[in-house]
Every structure is written in structure tokens, then in C-alpha cells.
Amino acid sequence: MSLLARVVETRDENVSIAAVEGEIDASNASEIAERLRTLLTNRSSLLVVDLTATTYIDSAGINLLFELASELEHRQQQLRLVVAPGSPIARMAAIVGLDAAVPTHSTRASALAGQS
């Protein structure tokens, strides 16, 4: 994994949680996408990507999340995001409409519960 970011994973029976710590840009977005995909088993119904500790994301990272969301949808699985309200990440997500396209929660607990 590149030095810019690390993915910290927690896996449950049918829920996978991945916290991306650090920076996501064009140099490591596809690597991170691969890593997130490996978290999904056929039994997983839900992938929660926690961006609370993400310090930088640009369109390469945003694109990866859009792609991942549509991939999961085709497999009848769901992607949910955790984004701290008012954070720069939240601003990026709003500009490109990511928060409207992918269920976005302010805490991990609410993402797991499925409430916004």
C-alpha cells in the first residue's frame, strides 16, 4: 500500500467496515479501490467506507466511490459512507453530488444502523 493512505478494516458476519486514513489521489485511488473490493465477500451485504480520518480526497477518490457504489448495487450489496459534517471531505462530496448518490452518514454507528 502506498504511503499516502492506509486502509484499516473490520469485518463482521455480513458487514465490512473500511476506514481510509490519509490521502487519496490519482496515484493511489486504484490501489485503494482494489483493497476495498477484497473486503467484500459474497455474503457481505454492506460495505461501510469511513472517511472520517481521510485528510485529502480529489476527483480520483470521488470517482472510485461512485464506481464502487454502482458495482455493489449490481450485486445487490450496499455502500454507505461516513463523512464528518462540515469537513472538507463533506464539501467535496456535496460539490459533485456524491452525498446524494451514496447514503452518507455522520458517524459509523448511524451508518451501521442505516439512519442518517
Binding site: 490519482a26 496515484s27 480529489d58 470517482n63 459533485v96
Partner: protein, 530 residues
């Protein structure tokens, strides 16, 4: 000793010639083989072999053989004191065996090859046993005292040649190792200028001083300097492992004091004699600070932008490799843009017969009037390091470059360059008074333009892009220029980058010219984006 016949003398002279020539050009292996051929020729023997003591001094390794080549091929090792060769090394005298069948022979190859009689002598230089030289006969032969004397004479000359060749080979190896280990490419560490020096001691083979510099993450650069106890290949080997361990632990993300503790723990596994002093510092160019851990190492010198030099007070942990359970603490101090930190080894400040405080004070005084970094290093080395040095000297100087009024640079059209653009831009924006949110927005917008330049640098020769940033009356203007052509946006992906630029900046202007694409982004600081 018998009187040498004239033919013997001729033969010894021919041996002398080869040992002389050997000093200059032959490798140790070639030299040993040449010696064996000459010696077995002089004594008319069927076999000859040389075994040399290893570093522990407990085992003889077969290094060259004539007629019994299997000894070398199979890596025969004979413990000192045991068997035929082991006895010669232990007793430091010639041993003859008339009948191999009835003798204490450890090495089965000697019997298997049908050797009947053996004569061996020690290889001795300045009272030290280097190894054993032995010759053998396939037919029963009684080696005389004269044979033994002649072989010993040949061995004495051979030993000197072997000693020289081994030392020079070790020196070359150590030098090659050190050259590989000292970092050569210190460029690309944005915001930081580095200069280094290494001067070996006058008459020693290579010393154990080392340094290293590498990027950890974000804007942080690790610098380290140390002095491994000992010289030559062994010190170089310890140094190699140290550096690797230090880099690995640092890149893992451990805090500096922990990194040093982990390296110290690793040293314990390298044996009781593996010891080093260490000064390890992590320079954060964004935060303008340094976190330092010192382990038995003289204190770094800190020079302020206006040329004031003072020593950093270290907490002074013990050298690495002394105690496996040693604990280390770090201290953090401010490192303003324009400041310089000089790490050095004791060879720079220690003069025989003078207190180290004198050397430290001389260094401080010299550094006080400092010019550019290379000139500073040149001056310190020229005036501090004596021409006849008892110890080697290493020095690493790091200067945090002042943030320029106008940021301008050229980066390779490579995705990996993006992170370094971000660091440079963040630092520059902070000095222009941008808020954290503004910095974030502008950096993202700029990256979108840079990422496009990287992706579209598909035209031959288009391998770099230029970024220029200016700020006038709170209006930040970024120009990103490449010599490729933008492909029209494909699908929603490409569109998102442009969407983000427009969402984050006051104005976005993209010009697709014949010679390349220029993106101009503007944003007024202190106002929210409309």
C-alpha cells in the same frame, strides 16, 4: 635450516615475483591458486591446499586447492586444534604425516583422493595465524626437515601477500557497501535542502560513520547520522542492517523515540559487538518543527535564519546495542524556514589531546557566519577536520527553505508527483494567509488541473507540467501548463474534475492551445465562493 640450492633459490624468486605482482592486481582467490601452483611445483607434490581462518578465529576454511579441488567446492571447514590442518594452526608449527592411513585426519577428501603423505605449515603474519598451507603426495614420501623449511619459507612470503590481498579486498568491499549505503539522491524533498559529507580516516580501512535521509510521508523527512563501533566490512554490515531497520520502522509510522527503541531491539540480535551512536530527527516542513532522538551522539547544531548558531539540548540516551531494554525520548523544537540543522559525528569535533568542548565551541563559532549550505559544509569540513584524521567524519546539513513570494516549479508528468505538489502548495498558501478550508479547496482544484496534465501528457516530449502560483491583494492565481492536449471529457469521470474546479474556485479558465493546455484558477482569500 639447510642451505638453499641455487635451483630452489630460483624457484623461490619466481614465487616472490608472483607475490609482488599479486599485490597489485590479483584477487585473493587468484593469488592463492597461483601460489599453490608455484609451491607444489617447487616441492614436486601432487596436491596443495590453503585454508584460511574465518573471522571468529575458530574455523579454517578451504580457500584454494590443487589436486584436491573438492575441498574448496564442498566448502570444507576444519576446527582449529583438530585433525591435520587444525593441529598446525593450533600449534603454529609444521606437521608431517608419513602415512595418512594411520593418522588423525578429519577431512575425508584427503583419504578419498589417495593421498599417502602430507606436510603442512602455518601461514603467519606478525605473530597472527592466518591459516594453513599443506602439500601432499599420492605415493608414500618422507617429507624432510628441509622440505618443511622450504615450505615454511614459501608460506611466510605467501602469508604477506595473502594479508595484503585480503585487506585490500575487504577495503574495496567496505567502500562499495558504503557507497551504496550513503544516499545519493536527496533531491525531490520539497522545501528542504540537504548537503552531506563523508571523509574516511587517514590510515584506517573504512570507518563506521554513516548517515541517511528519506521521506517518511506528507511533508516529513527523516534524517539520521551515526557512528558504528568498529571498522571495515563488519562495521559496514552492521550499518547496512541498521539503516534498513531504521527506514522500515520509520515508514511504518512509529513515532521517532519508538523507532529508535525498535532499532535498538534489533541491534541485540546482531551480536554483542554491534553498537552505534545515533541522532535521528524527523523534520516536518509543514509544521516547521523537528523531533529529535539522540542516542549517545553529540548534539545537533541549529543555525537560525540570521546566522545564530547553538546546540540543541538532547536528552542523551545511551548508544544503541548497549542495553536491549533502553528507553529513548524525543524532543521537539521549532525549525523556522531559513534555519539549518547540522548533524555530524564526533570525528568532526574531537582532536586528540583537546577537550571535546573546545571542538564543539569552534564548530559553533564557525557555523555562526553561514552562507549557502554547500559552502557551509565545505567551510566546516575544511576548518574542523584535520588533514591527518584518526577518525572518520560524517556530516549531514538540512536547511528548511524559506517559502518564496511566488511559487513556481516544474514537476514530472507522473501521478506520484501530485503529493509533492500538494505539500508545496499547502505550505505556500499558509504563508499567504489562507485559512485551512481555503487551503483545502485550492489544493484540490489545483490537483484536478495537475492530474489532467499528468493524464494527458501522452504527446512525445510532454513529460512535465509547470505550476505557478501568485497572490496579489488576497487574490490567489494558479497557472498549470502542460504541453499535451486535453482529450475532450469522456463520460462523467472527466467531467467531475472540472466540476470540482468550478465548484471550488472563483474562476476557471481552460485554454487548449496548439502547444499545450493552460489552466488558470483564481480565488480571492477571505471571501466565500459564490
Amino acid at each position: 635450516m639447510r642451505v638453499l640450492k641455487s635451483s630452489d633459490r630460483d624457484q623461490l624468486e619466481s614465487l616472490q615475483r608472483i607475490t609482488d605482482a599479486a599485490l597489485a592486481s590479483l584477487s585473493v582467490e587468484q593469488l592463492l591458486l597461483e601460489l599453490l601452483l608455484r609451491i607444489s611445483d617447487i616441492l614436486s607434490t601432487d596436491t596443495a591446499a590453503i585454508l584460511l581462518l574465518d573471522e571468529t578465529g575458530r574455523l579454517l576454511h578451504a580457500r584454494a586447492a590443487k589436486g584436491i579441488e573438492e575441498e574448496v567446492e564442498q566448502g570444507v571447514k576444519i576446527p582449529v586444534g583438530r585433525g591435520f590442518a587444525g593441529r598446525i594452526a593450533a600449534e603454529r608449527r609444521a606437521v608431517t604425516i608419513e602415512d595418512v592411513d594411520h593418522a588423525d585426519i578429519l577431512n575425508p577428501i584427503l583419504r578419498e583422493k589417495g593421498i599417502r603423505s602430507l606436510l603442512g605449515v602455518p601461514l603467519i603474519v606478525e605473530q597472527r595465524v592466518l591459516g594453513v598451507l599443506h602439500v601432499g603426495s599420492l605415493s608414500p614420501r618422507t617429507f624432510t626437515g628441509e622440505d618443511a623449511a622450504l615450505l615454511q619459507l614459501a608460506a611466510d612470503r605467501a602469508a604477506i601477500a595473502i594479508e595484503h590481498a585480503t585487506l585490500s579486498e575487504q577495503r574495496q568491499l567496505a567502500e562499495a557497501l558504503q557507497r551504496r549505503l550513503l544516499p545519493t539522491d536527496l533531491s525531490g524533498m520539497t522545501g528542504l535542502e540537504l548537503a552531506t559529507r563523508y571523509l574516511p580516516a587517514s590510515h584506517e580501512s573504512l570507518g563506521g560513520d554513516w548517515y541517511d535521509a528519506f521521506a517518511i510521508d506528507g511533508g516529513r523527512v527523516a534524517v539520521a547520522i551515526g557512528d558504528v563501533v568498529g571498522h571495515g566490512v563488519l562495521a559496514a554490515a552492521v550499518m547496512a542492517q541498521l539503516r534498513t531497520a531504521l527506514r522500515a520502522y520509520a515508514i511504518e509510522g512509529h513515532p521517532p523515540a519508538r523507532v529508535v527503541e525498535l532499532v535498538n531491539g534489533m541491534m541485540a540480535g546482531l551480536g554483542p559487538r554491534a553498537m552505534t551512536t545515533l541522532a535521528y530527527a524527523v523534520i516536518d516542513a509543514d509544521e516547521c518543527s523537528v523531533e529529535l532522538v539522540a542516542a549517545g551522539h553529540p548534539p545537533p547544531l541549529l543555525i537560525s535564519p540570521d546566522g545564530e548558531a547553538r546546540y540543541v539540548e538532547t536528552r542523551g540516551g545511551i548508544p544503541l546495542g548497549v542495553s536491549e531494554i533502553a528507553r529513548y525520548e524525543s524532543e521537539t523544537f521549532a525549525f523556522e524556514p531559513g534555519s539549518t540543522m547540522v548533524l555530524y559525528t564526533d570525528g568532526l569535533v574531537e582532536t586528540r589531546g583537546a577537550p571535546i568542548d573546545d571542538g564543539l565551541e569552534r564548530l559553533r563559532a564557525l557555523a555562526t557566519r553561514n552562507g549557502d549550505l554547500e559552502t557551509l559544509c565545505m567551510k566546516l569540513v575544511a576548518q574542523m577536520a584535520p588533514r591527518e584524521r584518526a577518525d572518520d567524519v560524517a556530516m549531514l546539513a538540512a536547511r528548511l527553505l524559506p517559502v518564496p513570494e511566488r511559487l513556481a516549479g516544474r514537476w514530472p508528468a507522473d501521478r506520484r508527483a501530485l503529493a509533492s505538489v500538494r505539500r508545496a502548495l499547502r505550505r505556500w498558501l499558509a504563508t499567504r494567509g489562507a485559512s485551512d478550508d481555503e487551503i483545502y479547496d485550492i489544493v484540490v482544484a489545483c490537483q484536478e488541473a495537475c492530474a489532467n496534465a499528468v493524464e494527458h501528457a501522452y504527446r512525445p516530449g510532454a513529460h512535465a507540467f509547470d505550476l505557478c502560483a501568485t497572490c496579489d491583494d488576497g487574490r490567489v492565481r494558479l497557472t498549470v501548463r502542460d504541453s499535451g492536449r486535453w482529450r475532450p471529457p469522456r463520460g462523467t469521470h472527466r467531467g467531475r474534475g472540472v466540476m470540482m474546479m468550478r465548484g471550488l474556485m472563483d474562476s476557471v479558465d481552460i485554454d487548449h492551445g496548439e502547444d499545450g493546455t493552460t489552466v488558470v484558477l483564481e480565488r480571492v482569500l477571505g471571501a466565500s465562493v459564490a
